[in-house]
C-alpha cells in the first residue's frame, strides 16, 4: 500500500459507517469517527471535538426527526472523504426520512441548537432535502493527513491550532 512518492499519489482517507437511526448508532458512529480522525489526520483534540460534535448533531437530527412519520426500516449513514488537493474533509450524513420542521416560536423548549451548532463548527454545512431523504453535507477545511512516515518533526510543524 505504501507509495514511494506520496506527493504524487496521496492517500485519500475514507470512512463509511451505517446503522439503524437510533441513539446507540449515533454514539457508536461518534466514537468510531473520533478514532478515525485521530488515526488519519494531524489533528488536535479541539478539532476532533468540533468535527465529532458537528457530525453527532446531524446524526441526532436524523435519529430524532427523520423517521417520525415513517415507520419501518430506519437507516442512517455517515461517509467521510478527504480531498488531498484541497486539504478538506467532507462528511455526509444521510437518512431516508424527512426532518420535521419545528417552529421554535411554538416549541420554545424543543432543542433547535443542532443546526446552528453545525453551521458554527463546520467550514460549511448544507442540508439537502431530497425525495429519497435528507443529506447533510459538512465540510472541514485545512486538515492535514497523517503520513505513513510521519515523525515528530513533521508533527510539531503541522499541528497548528485551527481555531
Amino acid at each position: 500500500m505504501n507509495s514511494p512518492d506520496r506527493s504524487a499519489c496521496p492517500r485519500a482517507p475514507r470512512f463509511v459507517s451505517a446503522g439503524s437511526a437510533d441513539v446507540h448508532t449515533a454514539t457508536r458512529l461518534r466514537k468510531a469517527l473520533a478514532q478515525w480522525l485521530r488515526d488519519q489526520f494531524m489533528i488536535d483534540e479541539v478539532r476532533v471535538g468540533d468535527i465529532v460534535l458537528t457530525v453527532y448533531e446531524a446524526l441526532a437530527n436524523a435519529t430524532e426527526f427523520a423517521y417520525l412519520d415513517s415507520p419501518g426500516a430506519k437507516a442512517v449513514r455517515v461517509e467521510a472523504e478527504y480531498s488531498s488537493s484541497r486539504n478538506r474533509l467532507e462528511v455526509t450524513v444521510s437518512d431516508h426520512g424527512r426532518w420535521r420542521e419545528i417552529d421554535p416560536a411554538l416549541r420554545p423548549n424543543t432543542r433547535g441548537r443542532g443546526i446552528p451548532l453545525m453551521a458554527a463548527l463546520a467550514s460549511s454545512a448544507i442540508i439537502e432535502k431530497q425525495t429519497s431523504g435528507t443529506v447533510v453535507r459538512l465540510r472541514f477545511n485545512e486538515l492535514t493527513v497523517r503520513t505513513a512516515d510521519d515523525d515528530l518533526t513533521v508533527r510539531t510543524a503541522d499541528v497548528a491550532m485551527s481555531a
Binding site: T27, V46, V48, L53, Y56, A60, R111, R113, A120, L121
Partner: protein, 116 residues
C-alpha cells in the same frame, strides 16, 4: 463509555451534580431527572459539574438552558473546561446565558455571593 454517570453531593445548601461520560440525546433525560430530584430538596443553589464529561451534545446543552430558565429564583452554575464542554458552550452562546466556571470552587464561590 456510552453512559452518563451522575453523582450528587451537597456543599452546604448548594447541590452539586457531577456528570461524567457523555451527555447526548440518549442520556440528557437522566440529567434532567437528576436536576429535578435535586431541586425537590430546595437547594439555594445548583451546580452542574461537567469537568469529567467527555462529550456534550446540544440535547445536554438544552437541559442546562432549561434549568436556568425554569429556576430563576436559585443560583445556577455550570463547571466546564476544555474542548469537549466549555468550547461548545461558548460557541452556542450558552455561556452568556448560564454562568460557566472553570473550577468547582469558583462556581461555589459565585453562588455563595448570590445567595448571601
Amino acid at each position: 463509555m456510552d453512559v452518563l454517570q451522575l453523582d450528587e453531593q451537597w456543599v452546604g445548601q448548594v447541590a452539586v451534580i457531577a456528570a461524567s461520560g457523555a451527555l447526548d440525546i440518549l442520556t440528557a433525560p437522566q440529567l434532567r431527572d437528576a436536576v429535578a430530584a435535586a431541586l425537590d430538596r430546595k437547594p439555594t443553589g445548583l451546580i452542574v459539574d461537567l469537568l469529567a464529561l467527555e462529550f456534550l451534545g446540544s440535547a445536554g446543552m438544552q437541559v442546562l438552558l432549561d434549568t436556568r430558565s425554569q429556576n430563576p429564583e436559585i443560583g445556577f452554575a455550570v463547571v466546564a473546561d476544555g474542548a469537549a464542554t466549555s468550547r461548545p458552550l461558548k460557541i452556542t452562546g450558552i455561556s452568556e446565558i448560564v454562568d460557566v466556571f472553570p473550577t468547582l470552587d469558583a462556581a461555589v464561590a459565585s453562588i455563595a455571593n448570590i445567595t448571601e
